[in-house]
């Protein structure tokens, strides 16, 4: 029998280890419970609970009309979500994998991103598009793309990427509550990462659009997000052996972009490396480096460097470790900041 003490503990929200996938599921559940206009739709989100089980239990709790297994058609799913949102619902769409969102690009770019603008503010679309994204899970072709550059290049969309369990919950709650469309990129390889977290009293997080300093330091800033955050944290620890005291900034969203936090950090440290796993050329790092340079030119003691995936189609799983930027590549970039540091 459950003791009174543990029940009270549960009510008070005793933190227990929770995975990012569980926190995301809880965010969906809580949003649906609070707001009857929130609807979840996608492939296999109902009976199966999604291929990553993020939507597990929602169809049971809220019924098929609130958590719907759709026909297998991404353009149709997102297009239908547009209509649902036009009629006052708040659809949360699941794209099964990053590369399978591409059939829906026409809807996303021509309609989801532009409806507010086209209707001069009369018709905002509160749609959240959840996309399990990125590599590192040994997926075969088309299961590991990092597509954030396409999304961030489209005005009208928010692009949000949690890297921690707390943020997974907090940012998804806010995305669903947002009256603007949000592309919510869920780093697949962090789905099973755990943190002590309480579903009943979730820790408050910074809102969408604010970057967070995850580790403070003095000698250089690592600017990163999503799946690359743990890599950067590890690199920062390892770099202490070389006498580097690295600051790590987790962007948490690419759109809006938090220029203030990033610039303040780089002004303090004088050096910056941008780290992400999507291809470098035409990737988010270029935009970020340009912004940092524009704001911090006189504070910079070395060029802003980028550590990114290669400019190749995502490799087969047996070769993906060569493509994904790991700790060594980050440290190597940090070392390349050295020549200026020595002057």
């Amino acid at each position: 029998m459950t003791t009174v003490a543990t029940m009270a503990g549960e009510r008070a929200g005793t933190a227990k280890p929770a995975t990012m996938a569980q926190a995301l599921g809880r965010a969906l559940r809580d949003s649906m419970a609070e707001d009857p206009t929130v609807h979840v739709l996608g492939e296999d989100v109902g009976t199966l609970g999604g291929v990553f089980r993020v939507t597990d239990g929602l169809a049971k709790e809220f019924g098929d009309d609130r958590c719907t297994d759709t026909p297998l058609a991404e353009a149709g799913i997102l297009g239908a979500a547009v209509g649902m949102a036009m009629y006052g619902l708040r659809p949360v769409v699941e794209m099964q994998f990053d590369a399978f969102a591409y059939p829906a690009f026409e809807q996303l770019i021509s309609h989801v991103a532009k409806m507010r603008n086209r209707t001069r503010g009369a018709m905002p679309l509160p749609i959240t598009v959840r996309v399990p994204y990125g590599g590192g899970i040994g997926g075969v072709e088309h299961h590991s793309d990092s597509s954030e550059a396409y999304y961030m290049a489209t005005p009208g969309l928010h692009v949000v990427m949690p890297a921690t369990v707390e943020d997974a919950y907090g940012l998804l709650r806010e995305s669903i509550a947002s009256d603007d469309p949000v592309v919510f990129l869920e780093p697949k390889r962090l789905y099973w990462s755990k943190a002590a977290w309480s579903p009943d009293a979730p820790a408050a997080v910074e809102p969408i659009g604010r970057a967070v300093v995850r580790r403070s330091g003095r000698s250089a800033t690592l600017i990163t997000y999503g799946p690359s955050l743990p890599v950067c944290m590890e690199a920062a620890e390892a770099a202490t052996a070389e006498g580097w005291d690295l600051e790590v900034v987790d962007l948490r969203s690419l759109v809006p972009f938090d220029d203030e936090t990033v610039a303040a950090s780089v002004r303090r440290t004088g050096r910056a490396v941008v780290v992400h796993e999507s291809s470098g050329f035409g990737g988010p790092g270029g935009e970020i480096a340009a912004r940092v340079t524009e704001r911090c030119f006189h504070h910079l003691e070395a060029p802003v460097l980028r550590v990114a995936g290669f400019d190749i189609p995502y490799p087969p799983p047996m070769q993906e470790r060569h493509h994904l930027p790991g700790v060594d590549r980050v440290l190597d970039a940090v070392a390349r900041l050295q020549w200026e540091a020595d002057n």
């Binding site: 009976t47 075969v140 400019d311």
Partner: protein, 384 residues
């Protein structure tokens, strides 16, 4: 209020709009009400016994391939395997019905069709093993890469068939897709193009009941998937997908029709996926054992075996010989798959463009340095 009731419109008699006439007669395009069958019916007597025996051999080999590949996932030798156990009749018929010059456009589940068409069993698995996206030269085998994004191979099949026809080649393309894939926009666009162009394409829908967890009833409200053909102006054919002779015959007729310029056909083969979606899926979440068992009684190998033994075309010895051949294939596959593939990381940069860009050359050089350092370190460790 109807039009007739409008004041002053009493004399109005509805007629079709002036320009309207049916573009095509829908009646011949409609599928039969029930899936077409051959085994166990009078029609079986007309089938060449050689063909039945060939189909049987390939079916048994295919089943063994599926079980072997699934076993390899458990040993970590394959990243993932979407088994086609239960669907072998469709897979084999699709491969055998084509001439050498024809093209096959398989989906990720159709490894077996590719192998039955002559692809090396190991080469066919590179995608699923994870060493290469496509381990074979599609032109050499006239098999397009196993396609993961659903239905996207269908417009390719249409384009290829159309191009062949423009060149005066009597090549046919056979494109395979699942029941779930028929909901994708690409499916509709492919069928429409094919029909308008009268492209020599055969679309084979393997309706195995589920798209991962989603049953057919949540995928479509059409009377059958074969009925979808009518709307595009092509014939729809419904066939028992576990009846190898029937699938072979229906596809054969569709291929012949395409080859003589008669245009595309949509074939729906009604079958069942006996295993989970892939080894990573838990099928108990969305289906019940009794359904699986009902389909087990309609197993494609058993159906054919019964026909062949009943007619004295096959006996225990014959079955034994076929099984031994399948075992040999499985042993060979096992052995080859147990060897680690030798991969060159420089391959990552080799095939992005015809000529490597300066950036890719730089990136390749950087990786080379990293790899050398890695090897240097491990070499040093060994020396210690």
């Amino acid at each position: 209020m109807t039009v007739q009731e409008l004041p002053g419109a009493a004399a109005y008699r509805p007629t079709p709009p002036p320009a309207w006439k049916p573009l095509t007669d829908p009646a011949p395009l409609l599928p039969d009400p029930e899936p077409y069958r051959v085994l166990g019916t009078d029609a079986a007597a007309d089938v060449d016994p050689e063909l039945l025996l060939r189909l049987y051999g390939e079916l048994v080999r295919g089943r063994r391939y599926n079980t072997q590949a699934t076993a390899l996932t458990k040993q970590g030798r394959l990243a993932v395997y979407p088994s086609s156990t239960g669907q072998e009749a469709c897979e084999i018929a699709a491969a055998l019905v084509l001439e050498e010059r024809d093209w096959l456009f398989p989906s990720y589940r159709d490894t077996l069709a590719a192998v039955a068409r002559g692809l090396d069993p190991v080469e066919a698995l590179t995608l699923l093993r994870g060493d290469r996206h496509t381990g074979y030269d599609p032109r050499e085998h006239r098999i397009a890469p196993l396609c993961t994004p659903l239905a996207t191979q269908l417009p390719h099949a249409v384009g290829l068939a159309h191009a062949a026809r423009l060149k005066g080649d009597d090549v046919v393309a056979l494109a395979m897709v699942g029941d779930g894939g028929t909901s994708e926009g690409d499916f509709h666009e492919a069928l429409n193009f094919a029909a308008v162009w009268r492209a020599p394409v055969v679309f084979l829908v393997q309706n195995n009941g589920f798209a991962i967890s989603v049953p057919l009833a949540k995928q479509t409200a059409a009377p059958s998937l074969a009925h979808k053909a009518v709307g595009y102006g092509m014939p729809g054919r419904l066939v028992d997908g576990n009846d190898a002779a029937a699938v072979h015959q229906v596809l054969g007729e569709a291929v012949a029709r395409a080859r003589r310029g008669g245009g595309p056909t949509l074939v729906e083969a009604v079958t069942y996926r006996m295993e989970a979606h892939t080894n990573a899926d838990d099928a108990t979440r969305y289906r019940v054992d009794s359904e699986v068992e009902a389909w087990r009684a309609h197993d494609p190998i058993r159906l054919l075996e019964r026909e062949l033994t009943g007619r004295g075309l096959l006996d225990e010895d014959g079955i034994g010989t076929v099984r031994e051949a399948a075992e040999r294939m499985a042993a060979g596959l096992r052995e080859q798959m147990n060897a680690d593939p030798v991969l060159d990381p420089m391959d990552l940069f080799a095939h992005v463009y015809e000529e490597q860009t300066e950036q890719l050359r730089e990136q390749a050089a950087r990786l080379r340095v990293e790899l050398d350092a890695e090897h240097g370190e491990s070499g040093a460790e060994e020396g210690r």
